[in-house]
Symmetry: C2
Subunit: 192 residues, 2 copies
């Protein structure tokens, strides 16, 4: 299978089977991600994998508490989108997925956010290759979770990814056509 | 070849053969990148491919002008790193690579930088699969280049990637060991 097929097959998944996953598969994906380039080759990423049930529950509760506030206040386009996608403040996937992967970046490194998300791109394709699914969940209270996990404030939580086998029946979200995002030698007025 | 092999083989390249490349190969990589997930599925990325010789020269000159200032002022760790890697203000790859790919992000989209760099991760692996090389060059004067290309200020230049066949004899930069970046259930004090 080529990378285009893997990329096309991959979709965001928020529901997981209770089936255990092999830690070696996640380690494979981290090995892929750590090959990514980074600003000054600083490799600012850390991958914290949580399989401990109590810790997953704790993280779910912390996130849901903040999500409740967020969902109460959210307005406009984002509110509509969340409603349409049936995304609520509840984040059961943080607890009922077999593992969650917290990706952190070193705030002192140049281009730490860019480099780390590039590596997350590598990670996602590797997960799909292994038949594993995820959602790139960006919690509203990264600082609180960082503290709760005893992580030094030199690091920033970029994303939390629940990982497991998909039990999500939803189709992949549509993607724009090539024509909408590709330009050759000339920028054109864009109607988004 | 699996994704780990592709990721391991890929290295940053700053010297290119004059050999032409097939535009279809770049389009393949954009097709891969546009499958990436993004905040609210907004797909904030645009890929502007420049093969026009005059435009490449213009971009090279604009970048080098700002790089000269930057290199004059740079200090400390970064200065040492640039010297060690023999990276100067000169950016010939912006002109003598057969194509440059400018990736832009829509500044109004949620998590536009994160989403776009994730897609750049996809793009890099696809390039490697096609035997093509690049460097993720982040110019110091993105606004100036954007204006020169007539691009609306709703968009931000995230990266400029010269693309071609490698003529770079340098080895791949070392990567940290798995032990340095992977943690299971527990954060540990890190010695960087």
């Amino acid at each position: 299978m080529d990378i285009l097929e893997i990329a096309r097959r991959r979709k965001t998944v928020r529901e997981f089977k209770s089936e255990k996953i092999c830690l070696e598969d996640i380690i494979y994906c981290i090995k892929v991600a750590k090959e990514a380039p980074s600003g000054m080759n600083s490799q600012p990423w850390k991958f914290l994998v949580i399989t401990d049930e109590e810790k997953k529950e704790e993280i779910r509760k912390l996130c849901e508490e903040k999500e409740k506030n967020f969902h109460r206040k959210v307005k406009g386009e984002l509110k509509e989108w969340l409603k349409e996608k049936r995304i609520s403040w509840k984040k059961p996937f943080l607890q009922n997925s077999p593992a969650i992967v917290i990706v952190l970046s070193s705030k002192r490194a140049p281009y730490f956010t860019q480099s780390t998300w590039l590596a997350i791109g590598y990670f996602l394709l590797a997960l799909e290759e292994k038949g594993l699914a995820t959602v790139t969940y960006t919690p509203p209270n990264t600082e609180e979770i960082r503290e709760c996990m005893g992580i030094s404030d030199d690091y920033k939580i970029e994303v939390i990814m629940p990982v497991g086998y998909s039990n999500d029946k939803k189709d992949k979200e549509n993607r724009k056509s090539l024509e909408e995002i590709f330009y050759l030698n000339e920028w054109k007025a864009i109607v988004d």
